[in-house]
Symmetry: C2
């Protein structure tokens, strides 16, 4: 394992590889070549080999990679072998939806606490799991008591920086932000923003220019057409 800097593009792809390897392992596939893996998502095989090479030599020449082994390596690289405890700040529509979201579990994340500044909401229990809503002002205490590693910011843009500041004061080092603002964080705190406004407006740009051939998802015409045909046959009674 060399200790150079790994770009976010690489870690994002590792996550994609892992997802695929989990499926392959479930399907009982034992080995896979970088080329076969690359074919799954229109990627270059050298890219995959380079991404993995940052962390060691996992492959066997002439064979490829052992699925189960590589799966475990990437799981460890991404830190998904140890459980993470999540706190969600903001119990609105989004915060509530995220509290119920199952996708966290597969990645070894568990939502253990919710925070809101609305007196009405504090003390309530939310969702299937009945997670309790704490007062934001008690954040530092709850973060310590519950061992929270990761915060999710699901408050209005107006108060997102304030929420982040509280989260940072409480000692949380990793934050997933859904508010459509650029937040200022300490250098030792990792903030990742999911900005729906940017995604939507960027879509709108392409919608306004139907002549532009889609840049994302190139080379994916052939496999689709087949699937589409099959699906369309399943639709009965629609013109």
């Amino acid at each position: 394992m060399k200790s150079e800097k790994i770009s976010e593009l690489t870690t994002n792809r590792l996550s994609v590889y892992l997802r695929c390897l989990n499926l392959l392992a479930d399907a009982g596939v034992k080995t896979i070549s970088s080329q076969a893996l690359a074919d799954q998502f229109n990627l270059n095989s050298a890219q995959i080999r380079k991404d993995l090479a940052h962390f060691g030599e996992f492959g066997v020449r002439g064979v490829g990679y052992f699925v189960e082994e590589l799966r475990q390596h990437i799981t460890k690289i991404l830190g998904l072998d140890s459980a993470r405890r999540v706190g969600i700040v903001g119990v609105g529509n989004l915060g509530t939806a995220l509290a119920n979201y199952n996708g966290f579990t597969a990645s070894n994340f568990t939502v253990v606490a919710l925070f809101d500044n609305d007196r009405e909401k504090v003390g309530c229990r939310v969702g299937r799991a009945g997670i309790v809503v704490h007062d934001v002002r008690k954040m530092a205490r709850v973060v310590r008591a519950e061992g929270i590693d990761v915060a999710v910011i699901a408050v209005p843009a107006r108060v997102a920086q304030r929420a982040l500041n509280q989260v940072m004061s409480a000692g949380v080092k990793a934050v997933l932000n859904f508010a459509p603002v650029r937040l200022h964080a300490r250098l030792d705190v990792k903030v990742k923003t999911v900005d729906l406004t940017i995604s939507l407006e960027s879509l709108s740009y392409y919608l306004a220019r139907p002549q532009i051939t889609c840049v994302t998802n190139p080379r994916s015409i052939l496999p689709y057409e087949e699937i589409a045909q099959r699906e369309e046959n399943e639709l009965k009674g629609e013109a």
Copy 2:
């Protein structure tokens, strides 16, 4: 307006500039230089000038850009001057949260229909606006009747490709996908995926390596420290 290909990185930034210009306009600011704009989000001023130059010469040398004028230009470039009608496929936690999401409105998007394959849900009305849930098999008809431009896929990963195929059959050309899978789309259909799993796992990677200095948000130490101080003073009764 030159007709070269505009990268998604550029359209994403345009969306960020627009957000900032809207705030400036509200604050009564009349003109702004690329440098002042760049300072707002740790960006290079040449980057901003280049981004804008793709679409025309909007600036005035020695002065900068007129806020209101540039705001209108970018709004038009992103196609946000004409209203967009959105259909959401999948009325689970996420679909419901999105149906109630206010952020759409600011970008001139309106959610006009929901779709689900669950008989229990079809016919129900969801959220404040009481948007009706249609059977997915009626999608083509509803898309035509309601003039839907944009689809949001909020179904489980397992059935996301099927949902996309139905959406494409119905003639929708722009899709925002929340399912954690790589979807295959026709070349004339723009799909933008928001993958929470990737975001989370990528965060996990940095969490597993506290020694790594955060790569995103560089150069933003000084302004934060002040704000943090102010905020922390607001927190009474917390250690």
